[in-house]
Symmetry: C2
Amino acid sequence: MNTIDLISQLDNYHLLTGRTPTALNRFLSQRLKEHGFELTREQWSVLAVLWNGDGCSQQHLANATYRDKPSTTRLLDNLEKEGYIVRKGSEHDRRTNLIFLTGKGQMIKEPVTRVIYQVLDDATKGLSEQDIRMLKSYFDKIFNNIMLQIQ
Amino acid sequence: MNTIDLISQLDNYHLLTGRTPTALNRFLSQRLKEHGFELTREQWSVLAVLWNGDGCSQQHLANATYRDKPSTTRLLDNLEKEGYIVRKGSEHDRRTNLIFLTGKGQMIKEPVTRVIYQVLDDATKGLSEQDIRMLKSYFDKIFNNIMLQIQ
DNA sequence: GCAATATAGTTGCATAACTAACTAAAATAG
DNA sequence: CTATTTTAGTTAGTTATGCAACTATATTGC
């Protein structure tokens, strides 16, 4: 089998197209919806950072959630419109918005996090803790390889 | 550490948000662009199936690329507009479009596939073949778990 | 102190995803 | 053989992504 045909091996193809992460995304979105949260997976990913400590800048959130600034701006637009967060201009740097959770944003932390944790649990059923550590270490290796390649 | 706080462990968070697959997507898109292909990663994923054998239906492509029908319709709209594929109505079933590669669509198979293969190679540098088999088996396990959960 | 540069955030444009609702044609069930 | 159901594909609306260009403010370097 030559190099070209190797790609059509189904598992390499799925690795590259990210079928499993896509499935995990859909599963996560579906579970959030089933539990009555009007919240996208992407919005959750921002809230999860804020639940660890709010009052940070948009740039910080962009870095922490591995997004670019425009995507972060618009996610925050929607989160603000839905009443989960508020933007407050920094007094020290007038370019900066500091992002704070509202009561509504704080209130859903526990129930949403329970759903998220259940998703992770259901998705990794049959994998041992050692398996999951290995999976994460493969991810870390790949992520670092890519970071070295991108500029 | 209680259940709730476990999510904020960074590696669980990254596992759920799919940071590594996202990085791989960007890396793949960037490489395609660097090599002068006016082709998105998603368009490649459709062409890769067609390169394995064209003349299939849109529904088949949707299944093979793990997409829903509307997404597939629009990807094919763009691929057709760019001249990589053509739709031909089936003679046996007038509901069905059969999708064929154009000369342009066939021509880029080899150079694009080389780029794709190099991406996979660069991304998995430092992982042994056994590591990659393990990674795929974890993915399969997770994918199957999710398929059991969805509906 | 001022010009050049860097940083924070926004806006515009194109692509893509998912859901729901729709049209048309085929299959099936009585 | 007609009515119902299923299947193939499209359209519309919302959310999100990535890139490039932009504004406003801070930082720096002479």
